[in-house]
Amino acid sequence: MPVTETFQPTIVAFCCNWCSYAGADLSGTNRLQYPANVKIIRIPCSCRLNPLFILRAFQRGADGVILCGCHPGDCHYTTGNYYARRRMTLLFSMLDYLGIERERTRVEWVSAAEGAKFAATMQEFTAAVTKLGPNRRLEDLRCRKD
């Protein structure tokens, strides 16, 4: 798929309130840059992320979706991210099986102290998704912007 210079991907990042959202805030406090394509949605725990939300994001035109949560073992709710980890593994495997590009989805564990990691992850992820081009495989034509 040819990538035009003006292609700006829409990236949705789901961040858990306790670790990764705080990590995102920390990268802000430290003025670490990452692309404006990334928009963050706050959820109480990574386990709140229903795979349906990811599918909905893609349906509505998102080009990449990333889930950030506490490191396994450090979940504020003790076990939430373990369940999230299993679900996301299965979901990503199924998306791959259906022919959706693997690089459009990602899970990254970011603690509240890892502002730099958050910024770096968002930069990498945005670059990878930009390279893939717009999401055509999972989009819903009714939701297309143009």
Partner: protein, 324 residues
């Protein structure tokens, strides 16, 4: 075999072992058997059928039947018994109101496959050991049963009946006939090929919802696709919903609970190979989280409501084999 089942059914009704019997009867055609509830010996004599076309999984109907008062007896083949035990695990069936007669199975047959073997105008089919004798308008045709089995029966995962109050036929064992072969074939394709394959298949979906209605795991009081609060309420075939959302969501919801009974593919009027979605999840679960068969045991933890601290990361999907 049919006679033994009929006798058992009548016996249960007459000696008070059950008030209703759940079994099969002929539908529109002789090969189109439909699940049915029998309440009298006369009905059983007249209409009860058990043949090479009794593919229907009766366990789902026990959800409602076990709550109607009295006792209901049901005939379950090995694959059905896994679904039954899984439903028990999920507290959907009241076990005390159910009497299970486990029925050993030689594999159920597919009428389409029979027709493809030069059998036109079939009026009846008899079972004769490992052969099927088809009476057609043009004479008798004899085929090997194993050549006309339903797809799911060709890779039958188990002849073991995991839950029963009594058995008709012998108890069997689990077996491995390579049921993941087709999944592996798809996995070996490039993403573009896979995408094209699934678009081709899923775009034929007409949202008849037969797969959902027949699936024992799809037995929610209110399905998410009928739930206004879920944000995914959707009834009719609409642009790209089926390809993008309906089937993947349904497969995800039954992941870890699907016993691979194969009913979804059997009933699909468009012949979409839905089992390839469910088996993919089962294969993934086996690979990542250890071999697991839903419904095999009453108290094993279900993989999606369980975890270990050493589970693999989702990035394992990115880095494992397969074309990219």
């Amino acid at each position: 075999m049919q006679e033994r089942l009929k006798q058992k059914a009548v016996e249960l009704l007459e000696n008070g072992g059950a008030d209703r019997i759940l079994g099969w009867k002929t539908g529109e055609f002789f090969y189109d058997l439909t699940p049915a509830v029998f309440t009298s010996s006369a009905e059983i004599e007249r209409e009860f059928v058990f043949s090479a076309f009794s593919g229907a999984n009766l366990s789902k109907y026990l959800i409602a039947e076990s709550r109607k008062g009295g006792k209901v007896a049901a005939f379950l083949k090995p694959c059905d018994s896994y679904s039954f035990q899984q439903l028990l695990k999920e507290h959907r069936i009241l076990r005390e109101n159910v009497y299970i007669v486990g029925v050993q199975c030689a594999g159920m047959c597919d009428m389409e496959k029979l027709r493809a073997r030069d059998c036109d105008g079939v009026t009846a089919v008899r079972e004769n050991g490992e052969k099927l004798v088809a009476e057609t308008l043009y004479g008798e045709r004899i085929v090997d049963r194993k050549d006309v089995l339903l797809e799911r029966c060709t890779v039958c995962k188990s002849k073991k009946i995991v839950a029963f109050d009594e058995l008709i036929g012998e108890q069997g064992e689990e077996q491995d006939l390579g049921r993941f072969a087709e999944v592996e074939r798809l996995e070996a394709m490039t993403p573009e090929e896979r995408y094209a394959f699934w678009r081709g298949e899923l775009s034929r979906c007409i949202r008849c919802n037969a797969c959902r209605n027949v699936c024992p795991a799809c037995s929610c009081e209110t399905c998410i696709f009928d739930n206004a609060n879920s944000g995914f309420r959707n009834k009719a075939a609409a642009d790209a919903f089926e390809e993008n959302l309906f089937h993947i969501i349904r497969a995800f919801h039954v992941a870890g609970r699907c016993t691979d009974c194969g009913e979804c593919s059997r009933v699909c009027p468009q012949h979409i190979p839905l089992h390839l979605l469910n088996r993919k999840f089962i294969k993934d679960i086996n690979t990542f989280y250890g071999p697991y068969q839903a419904g095999a045991e009453l108290d094993s933890p279900s993989p999606l409501t369980d975890y270990t601290t050493a589970d693999c990361e989702p990035s394992a999907v990115l880095t494992r084999g397969g074309n990219s």
